[in-house]
């Protein structure tokens, strides 16, 4: 791995630019009342990391319990609460906001050539809603948690439990509005605030992916909101449309819940796809193969993703005809995702590939997401789903796409844009080690779970038959390695804030408007609104720019 494209300024003379969005104003209020999208992104980054570690601690508890076949570490009830809180926090307070609220908020205006998002105050409001939702969720945990699973299945959640369902649905309700406002802001910005010359097909693919995710956020999340309101009402008023005892239908809840929660998984993964496009292109020194196909496939995923939700309900009592329709649509939605993987592979082909940390994470993503995606097809086929549903196969599937996919994309993006965000580089060797550790730990944790699922181990059970213990021990061992892999970035990224090398404006020699401004950027991003006169991923244009630049001053 001797080849690298990193190009840093001379460290003896380089300095962080004196005026940037971090140094512009000081004091707590300048952060809490900011309308600067980059500061809001920083606030989100800190909050999301906080919730990630709570969710991770809960995961550690789950894996520790599953070391032994009996439910000896905690009572079955407690185990139910632990995995439910793990799911709720990871899905709603980490995965859904992760890339859009951090990288999206930070980069979107720069990528379209604007000074800020269209609605900066709404952006700040969305962060406050996130924090409020997070506080409500922490309250729920402290009050004893909720044990319905993250899916709040009725009538268990509305009728048969005495745990904290109402605070939990309230927390998710509030966090949902945070998500809606972020998506709304992105859609308006991308439509109305592109700089002169920035046509739709000159936009970076990161923008296309976030646009598609924003459509899902805006149209899907409100259905979850009203569903949670109905669950809350039913619990409080003891009458409702989800409980058969009153004449309701539990499947109605599931239809409405999964109408959001399936697009939610695309909300989670699409921004990750955007990061991968940027990183693969930069570290192959090639434009993304088939830009139009990748752009349209993002939108196709968004549209098709709305119509496949009942594949989560195949065994729940929907009619066979409905199952048939949804299974067919599920097969169709896999196609655009596969198109992306092919296009990224063709981008790599005959590119000048180097293996810096963001690239390692992205390559890991491609492999792991492919496995995760293909196992999704097994689950989308009704025949196999009957055997595999509600087993560890499903758990492994969604962890492959969410953790092996989304989380790796998130880390890839964080490392890729870290120099832009902070002006400093992270330590490369240590970060490469962390990336490889994560990859190994991940496979060790979740691959055995596919086998466990095939063998029939059910999910959401604290106790299991003893013959499954060996694979569970592998899984927990892997989780420990994975934990190390996730802890390291926190440590060295924090370290790099003070001691990292000065990055300069374009250490990766990437195209993209955000790399043409200083690191960290000015509050208003650009001294003047740029005019976009070249295509996306135009490395020839970049070469001409670099040739024209003055090498030294005076």
């Amino acid at each position: 791995m001797s080849a690298t494209i990193v190009s840093l300024p001379d460290q003896s003379t380089a300095r962080i630019p004196k005026l940037n969005f971090l140094s512009k104003e000081n004091g707590l209020l300048s952060w809490l009342l900011t309308s600067d999208h980059k500061r809001i992104a920083t606030l989100y980054l800190i909050s999301i990391t906080f919730f990630f570690f709570i969710g991770g601690a809960l995961a550690a508890l789950v894996r520790m319990e599953l070391l032994t076949p009996q439910s000896d570490l905690m009572a079955a009830d407690t185990y139910n609460k632990v995995f439910s809180m793990h799911g709720l926090i990871m899905v709603f307070f980490f995965l859904v906001p992760s890339i859009p609220a951090t990288l999206g908020n930070f980069l979107m205006p720069m990528m379209v050539g604007a000074k800020d998002l269209a609605l900066p105050k709404i952006n700040l409001l969305s962060w406050y809603l996130y924090v409020l939702g997070g506080c409500l969720m922490i309250y729920t945990m402290c009050a004893g948690g909720v044990d319905t699973g993250w899916t709040f299945t009725t009538p268990l959640s509305t009728h048969y439990l005495n745990t904290n369902v109402v605070p939990a649905v309230l927390a998710v309700f509030v966090a949902g509005f945070s998500s809606i406002l972020t998506g709304l802001n992105f859609i308006v910005t991308i439509h109305k605030m592109r700089c002169p010359g920035m046509t739709w097909f000159r936009l970076p693919l990161f923008v296309w992916s976030n646009y598609a995710a924003s459509i899902l956020m805006v149209l899907g999340t409100p259905v979850l909101a009203i569903t949670l309101v109905l669950v809350g009402l039913e619990r409080v008023v003891h009458i409702g449309v989800f409980d058969p005892a009153y004449g309701g239908d539990p499947l109605l809840f599931q239809h409405l819940f999964w109408f959001y929660s399936h697009p939610a998984v695309y909300i989670m993964i699409l921004p990750g796809f955007g990061v991968i496009s940027e990183v693969i292109s930069t570290f192959s020194r090639k434009r993304v193969f088939g830009y139009t196909a990748v752009a349209f496939s993002s939108v196709a995923i968004a549209v098709f993703g709305f119509f496949v939700w009942a594949h989560h309900m195949f065994v729940m009592g929907i009619s066979n005809y409905a199952a048939l329709v949804f299974s067919l649509l599920t097969m169709l939605v896999a196609v655009p995702s596969a198109i992306k993987i092919f296009n990224w592979s063709f981008t790599l082909y005959k590119g000048s590939i180097t293996f810096e940390t963001p690239m390692l994470y992205s390559l890991g993503f491609m492999g792991l997401f492919t496995i995760g995606g293909m196992t999704g097809v097994f689950l989308g086929s009704t025949g196999t789903d009957i055997h595999l549903t509600e087993t560890y196969f499903v758990v492994a599937h969604f962890h492959f796409v969410m953790v092996g996919g989304m989380l790796m994309a998130f880390l890839s993006g964080i490392h890729f844009w870290w120099p832009k965000w902070t002006g400093r580089m992270y330590p490369e060797k240590l970060s490469q080690f962390a990336a490889v550790t994560t990859y190994i730990g991940f496979n060790l944790t979740f691959f055995p779970q596919f086998i466990l699922g095939m063998l029939g181990m059910p999910r959401r059970y604290a106790a299991y038959p003893p013959e499954f213990q060996v694979l569970n021990v592998f899984s927990t061992a892997g989780a420990t390695v994975l934990g190390v892999g996730y802890l390291l970035p926190i440590l060295y990224l924090t370290w790099s804030l003070k001691y990292g090398e000065i990055a300069g404006s374009n250490p990766w020699q990437a195209t993209g408007l955000e790399w043409q401004v200083q690191s960290p950027p000015l509050t208003e991003n650009f001294p003047e609104i740029p005019i976009m006169d070249h295509e996306a991923y135009d490395y020839e244009w970049l070469e001409r720019q670099q040739a024209k630049e003055v090498a030294s001053v005076g």
């Binding site: 439509h191 119509f307 939700w309 066979n320």
Partner: protein, 107 residues
Amino acid sequence: MADSHISNVHSEGNHVVSPKLYLGIFIALLCLTALTTAASYVELYVFNVVVALAIAVIKASLVVLFFMHVKYSPKLTKLTVLSGLFIFLGLMTLTLADYISRAWGRW
């Protein structure tokens, strides 16, 4: 200051709708309300709900097109309204698809 941006320059606020048109639409809406109430007293069997919904759709369309200025709005606004309707109808239709077909027999 570059303000000739690619995004839609046609400002929605430029078109002023005349009060006469608003008045006309208002009266039409009141008449349709009376009509829908009257229609519910007539036995039309399965078409009762069809008529009621059709009248409601007409009323909503009048409000959307004229009171909300969509008729005079850029294409993007029209596209936005249609896409919202599309997803809403998708939710209803596919959910209904399950409920309707539950009673269809053993396969």
